[in-house]
C-alpha cells in the first residue's frame, strides 16, 4: 500500500465530477458542505527552534485530544554491518530511563495521565507518538525532552531489553514465513545499500551490540536538529510552542550526521533465493529495483501500485485469484523511501499450486501492462483510490500527524502532500506504460521463494 497517498482537494464536490458521473445509478448525495480539505484550509504552522528542532502544528478541535509525534531521522538505513538493529533497539530503550525519569516511570506517568504511547522503526525513520487528553499535553514535553537530552542506557536494563527484542525478531521473522521471505528478498536484492539488512537486525548483531556503540549512536542521531515534532488536535499553537521551547530549547544541537554510504551497483540479472521451511503451501515475493523519493516517476509508481494491487478489482487479484484461481492472495507494495528501493509483489499460492505457475502469471500481468498501458477508466479508478485513501488516512489526529511527519521527513516538506496530489492528477496512461517498461525488467528483479519441506527438512515438494 502506498505509505501516503495523496490528497484532498479533489474531493470537493466540483472536482469530483468525473467519478460521480460515472457511478452507475447514483442517487443524489445528501452531502453537507464539509470542511474543505485544501492546502489553504489545511493549516500547518512550521517553526524551527534555534537548536534546529522543527515543530509542525495542525489544530483540530473536534475531539479533546492531541497526538504528539516525534520523527527522528534515523532508521536501519543509518546503521552499518555489526550494529544492525541498533535503531530499533533504541526504539525500545527510549522508554527505559532518562536523566530525570527512572526506568518504568515514562510509561507509568503517561498511562496515569490517560495517555498511550508507541513507536515504529523502519529503514528511514524512527517515529514515536503519544495520544493524550488535551489538558495533559505538557507532561509529554517534560518526558520527551528529558529522553532527548540524555538516555540512561542502564546496563541491567540493556541486558533485559535485548531479550525482548530477540523475542520480537523470533515472532516477526524466524517463525513467520512472510517475515523470512521479506528479509531474504532485501538481503539478496541489495549488495551495498543499507536496505540489505533487516530493520530488526541480524540475531548475531543483537547478541554482540555494545553500550559504547549505543552511546555514540544516540549522540549522533537523537539530536534536536535531527528531529521533527508534529502536533495535531485540540491545542493552542502559541501556548504549545512556548512550552516546547521551554522544554526542548535548551538541548544542544549536534553536527549533522553524515549521509549513509550507498554504493549499490546496477543489477544486471535476476537473483533468486529459496527458503526451505515446513509449510502447507508455496508463497513468494518479487522485488524490482525502483527509484528513491525525488525521482519524477515516483507518483507514477504509486498509481501503478494501485492498478496492480489495490483490491479485488486490481489486475493481479483478477488474474491470479479470480480468473486462474491459483493464488489465495496477491498484493503489490511500493513505499516512497530515501534510498532506491524495491517495487514488491507478495503472492501466496493455493495449496497444490507451484511458484512457477504464480510467477509466470505475475509476469504476464506486468508484461501486458507495460505493453498496453492501463485503460482510461482503470487510470481514473487508481487516481480516485489514491485520493480517497489520503482522506481516509486523516480520520484521526494520529493519522494526520503521521502524514505530516512522513512528508516533512521523506519529501523534505510537509506541503509536498498537496503537490503530490496535483502530480497524481496529471499522470497519463503513457506515463504508466513507460514507467512499467522501465521498472518491471527481468534483469532488475529478485525473487524469494518459500519451498515447503517436511518437519525434518526433507521431502521438498517442487516449488
Amino acid at each position: 500500500m502506498h505509505r501516503i497517498p495523496a490528497l484532498l482537494a479533489l474531493l470537493l464536490a466540483v472536482a469530483a465530477a468525473a467519478p460521480a458521473a460515472a457511478a452507475p445509478k447514483a442517487r443524489p448525495a445528501p452531502a453537507r458542505s464539509s470542511a474543505a480539505l485544501t492546502p489553504a484550509a489545511f493549516k500547518v504552522e512550521r517553526q524551527t527552534l534555534p537548536n534546529g528542532l522543527v515543530v509542525l502544528m495542525h489544530e483540530d478541535h473536534s475531539v479533546p485530544t492531541v497526538t504528539f509525534w516525534q520523527w527522528f531521522k534515523v532508521g536501519s538505513r543509518n546503521e552499518r554491518p555489526g550494529i544492525t538493529g541498533i535503531s530499533h533497539y533504541f526504539e525500545h530503550m527510549m522508554f527505559n530511563g532518562s536523566k530525570n525519569v527512572a526506568p518504568k516511570e515514562y510509561d507509568r506517568i503517561i498511562e496515569s495521565s490517560g495517555g498511550y504511547s508507541n513507536a515504529f522503526t523502519d529503514y528511514d525513520m524512527t517515529a514515536y507518538y503519544e495520544d493524550i487528553a488535551s489538558d495533559r499535553l505538557e507532561v509529554l514535553f517534560r518526558l520527551d525532552a528529558d529522553r532527548m537530552a540524555g538516555l540512561t542506557l542502564d546496563p541491567a536494563v540493556l541486558k533485559s531489553e535485548i531479550e525482548v527484542v530477540k523475542e520480537e525478531r523470533r515472532l516477526r521473522t524466524e517463525n513467520d514465513i512472510s517475515g523470512m521471505l521479506d528479509e531474504q528478498l532485501y538481503a539478496a536484492a541489495f549488495v551495498s545499500s543499507p536496505y540489505g539488512w533487516p530493520t530488526v537486525g541480524w540475531m548475531g548483531d543483537l547478541e554482540r551490540m555494545k553500550r559504547e556503540e549505543l552511546v555514540e549512536y544516540f549522540r549522533t542521531y537523537y539530536a534536536p536538529n535531527n528531529c521533527i515534532l508534529v502536533l495535531t488536535g485540540d491545542f493552542d499553537s502559541k501556548t504549545v510552542l512556548a512550552q516546547i521551547t521551554r522544554h526542548f530549547g535548551p538541548i544542544p544541537a549536534q553536527p549533522a550526521p553524515a549521509r549513509p554510504v550507498n554504493s549499490e551497483p546496477v543489477q544486471n540479472g535476476e537473483r533468486r533465493v529459496e527458503v526451505r521451511y515446513p509449510a502447507e503451501n508455496v508463497s513468494f515475493q518479487v522485488g524490482y529495483k525502483a527509484p528513491a523519493v525525488g525521482d519524477a516517476d515516483v507518483p507514477v509508481l504509486d498509481i501503478l501500485d494501485s492498478i496492480l494491487g489495490d483490491g479485488e478489482s486490481s489486475r493481479l487479484h483478477r488474474a491470479l485469484v479470480y480468473e486462474k484461481q491459483i493464488a489465495l492472495g496477491v498484493g503489490s507494495f511500493f513505499a516512497t523511501r530515501l534510498e532506491p528501493t524495491l517495487f514488491e509483489f507478495v503472492v501466496e499460492m493455493k495449496p497444490g499450486h507451484t511458484a512457477a505457475a504464480g510467477d509466470s502469471a505475475l509476469s504476464e500481468v506486468l508484461e501486458r501492462l507495460a505493453k498496453e498501458g492501463p485503460t482510461p477508466r482503470e487510470l481514473q479508478k487508481a487516481k480516485n483510490l489514491v485520493e480517497a485513501g489520503f482522506v481516509k488516512s486523516l480520520k484521526t489526529n494520529n493519522g494526520v500527524g503521521q502524514q505530516i511527519g512522513f512528508f516533512e521527513h521523506v519529501y523534505g516538506d510537509h506541503r509536498e502532500m498537496f503537490r503530490l496530489l496535483d502530480r497524481y492528477r496529471t499522470v497519463t496512461a503513457a506515463d504508466c506504460q513507460r514507467v512499467a517498461r522501465a521498472i518491471f525488467r527481468p534483469e532488475r528483479r529478485t525473487i524469494a521463494v518459500l519451498v515447503p519441506v517436511g518437519e525434518d527438512g526433507a521431502g521438498a515438494t517442487p516449488p
Binding site: 467519478p19 460515472a22 490517560g114 498511550y116 487528553a133 523470533r170 530493520t199 530488526v200 503451501n281 483490491g311
Partner: protein, 476 residues
C-alpha cells in the same frame, strides 16, 4: 496492498482472538491522580437520529462533518453460532459471498464500481455478528448505499462464485496452519468451550466447509438476513433527514420474517482444574502460549470493575504482566490479558509467547503474577491509573466515523443503556478498589486455566510435566 510490515512497533500487543472477538478494543489505561479525566468530561457526541424503517430495520444516523466521508455499517444478529453441525463455516462463507454478485451486478462489477469511487465494501461473519460495511466519499453516498443494499438484500450467489470461494476458504484454512499464533487462536475455542456453538472458528474446518452447498448458503441468507434482525448505522458528513429518506427508499423491498432471532447458544460452564493441550509445530523456536478460562457475557453487571481489573493485570504497558514477564524478566515481546465478551457467554485469556527454552518459566511466572494480584489486590494508585487510562483513551475510539459506527451499534446489539457511550467515563470513575478486588476474585481464575501451547511436542511435554493432563494434537 500487501502483507509487508511497514513499521516494527515496539509494542504491538498481539490481540487474543477466540472465535471472533467482538469486544471493543479497549484501550486502556490509567491513572494516577485524583482528578477525573478532564478530556472525557468535555466529550460530547454528535446527536444520533434513531428510527425504524417501514421494513423493520432499525437505523441510527450520526452526522460528523469533519471529513467528506460516510460510513455505513450493518450488523445482523447471525454468525458462526448459527452454523449447523457438520457445516461449520456457513455463516462466514455466506458473508463472504454477499459481495460476489448482487442485484444486477456480477462479482467483478461490484468490485469495480466500489473501487472506482475509491470506496470499500466488505462483508464478514464472526461468532454472533455478520457485518457489512461500506465507506465512500460523501459525494458517492448514492452508489455506496446502492451497493450496500444490493449485497444485503439481493445477493445472487452465482454457482461459480460459490465454488471459487469455497475452494479459497479451504485453502485459507490450510494456509492458516503456517502461522503459530493463528493455530493457537483457532485451537483455543474448542479446547476451552467444548461443544458450545461458540467454540469453532468462524471460518470453519476443512471438512465442514467442503460439506457446505450453495443451497445451504441461500437458505442461511433467507433465514438470517432479515431487517428485524439487523441494525444499520450511517456515520459521516451527512444530513440525517436526507439520509433517512434515502434509507427508507433503498430498503423498502426488504422483507422480514415475523419471529425475532432466538439465542443460538447457552452460557458455558466454567472449567475446572488445569488441562494442557500441545499443538504440534516441531519447527518453531518460539512457543505460542494461551492460558484461558470461561469469562462473562458482554452485558454483565460487573463489566466496569472487570475492565479496570483487567487493565491492571494485562492491558497497557504498565500492567502487572507486562511489568513482570516482559520488562523485569525479558521473557517475551508481548503479554496481555483479555475478556472476549459475547451475548450469552465469554472468555478470559492471557496471550503471550517465548522462546522454547523458557516456556515453563514464563507460564509459572505468569500464574504467580495473577495469583499475587488476586490474593493481595491492587494498590490504590494502580486502580487510579487504570481508570485514568481507560477514560483517557476512550474518546480516541470515537474519532473515526467507522469506529464510532461500530461503538454505537455494539451499544444497541448488546442491549446496553442508551447513554452507554456518554456515561462510560463516569461509570469507570465510579469503580472502587473493593469492586476491583471482588472482580479479581470472581472472574480471574488461575488454577482452572486451560493451558494451550503451539510448540515442539517433545520439548513442550518435558517442560509442562506436572501442570495437568497433557494432550498432544496436530493443528487442524
Amino acid at each position: 496492498m500487501t502483507a509487508t510490515l511497514i513499521g516494527r512497533a515496539r509494542r504491538g500487543v498481539v490481540a487474543v482472538i477466540v472465535a471472533a472477538l467482538l469486544v471493543p478494543a479497549a484501550a486502556s489505561t490509567v491513572t494516577a491522580a485524583t482528578t477525573p479525566a478532564a478530556a472525557t468530561s468535555r466529550l460530547t457526541l454528535p446527536p444520533a437520529t434513531r428510527a425504524t424503517l417501514k421494513s423493520g430495520l432499525a437505523v441510527v444516523i450520526v452526522p460528523t462533518p469533519r471529513l467528506p466521508l460516510v460510513d455505513f455499517r450493518l450488523v445482523v444478529r447471525a454468525g458462526s453460532v448459527n452454523d449447523p453441525d457438520g457445516k461449520e463455516g456457513l455463516a462466514s462463507l455466506t458473508a463472504d459471498l454477499l459481495t460476489q454478485g448482487a442485484g444486477s451486478r456480477t462479482a467483478v462489477q461490484i468490485a469495480e464500481d466500489i473501487a472506482f469511487v475509491g470506496g470499500t465494501l466488505t462483508a464478514g461473519g464472526g461468532a454472533e455478528q455478520l457485518v457489512v460495511a461500506c465507506e465512500v466519499l460523501t459525494k458517492d453516498f448514492g452508489i455506496g448505499l446502492e451497493l450496500l443494499r444490493d449485497v444485503i438484500v439481493s445477493p445472487s450467489f452465482p454457482a461459480e462464485e460459490f465454488e471459487r470461494k469455497q475452494a479459497e476458504t479451504i485453502g485459507a484454512i490450510q494456509s492458516a496452519r503456517n502461522d503459530p499464533a493463528t493455530i493457537a487462536d483457532l485451537a483455543l475455542g474448542p479446547f476451552l468451550l467444548g461443544k458450545s456453538p461458540l467454540a469453532h472458528p468462524a471460518i470453519g474446518w476443512e471438512k465442514s466447509v467442503a460439506a457446505i452447498t450453495r443451497d445451504d448458503v441461500v437458505r442461511f441468507h433467507a433465514t438470517h438476513l432479515q431487517p428485524n434482525r439487523a441494525l444499520l448505522a450511517v456515520v459521516g458528513d451527512v444530513d440525517p433527514k436526507t439520509v433517512l429518506a434515502a434509507l427508507e427508499t433503498a430498503f423498502a423491498g426488504w422483507k422480514g420474517g415475523d419471529e425475532r432471532a432466538g439465542d443460538a447458544y447457552q452460557p458455558v460452564p466454567q472449567t475446572s482444574g488445569h488441562r494442557v493441550l500441545i499443538v504440534r509445530k516441531p519447527e518453531v523456536n518460539q512457543t505460542q502460549i494461551r492460558l484461558a478460562c470461561i469469562g462473562v457475557p458482554r452485558n454483565h453487571p460487573d463489566y466496569f470493575p472487570i475492565r479496570v481489573a483487567n487493565t491492571i493485570l494485562g492491558a497497557g504497558f504498565t500492567s502487572r504482566l507486562v511489568n513482570e514477564i516482559r520488562v523485569n524478566q525479558g521473557l517475551t515481546y508481548s503479554i496481555s490479558s483479555r475478556f472476549g465478551m459475547f451475548r450469552n457467554a465469554g472468555t478470559y485469556a492471557i496471550t503471550t509467547f517465548t522462546k522454547n527454552e523458557t516456556l515453563r518459566k514464563t507460564i509459572d511466572a505468569t500464574f504467580a503474577e495473577v495469583k499475587k494480584l488476586r490474593d493481595q489486590g491492587p494498590t490504590p494508585e494502580e486502580v487510579n491509573k487504570a481508570k485514568r487510562f481507560l477514560t483517557g483513551q476512550f474518546p480516541l475510539g470515537l474519532q473515526a466515523p467507522d469506529d464510532l459506527a461500530a461503538q454505537i451499534l455494539d451499544q444497541d446489539f448488546y442491549g446496553l443503556e442508551p447513554d452507554w457511550l456518554q456515561a462510560f467515563s463516569a461509570r469507570i470513575d465510579a469503580v472502587t478498589i473493593e469492586d476491583v478486588r471482588r472482580a479479581l476474585k470472581s472472574y480471574f481464575c488461575v488454577d482452572d486455566m486451560r493451558i494451550l501451547v503451539v510448540s515442539n511436542p517433545e520439548t513442550a511435554r518435558a517442560a509442562l510435566e506436572g501442570l495437568g493432563p497433557i494432550e498432544v494434537r496436530e493443528p487442524q
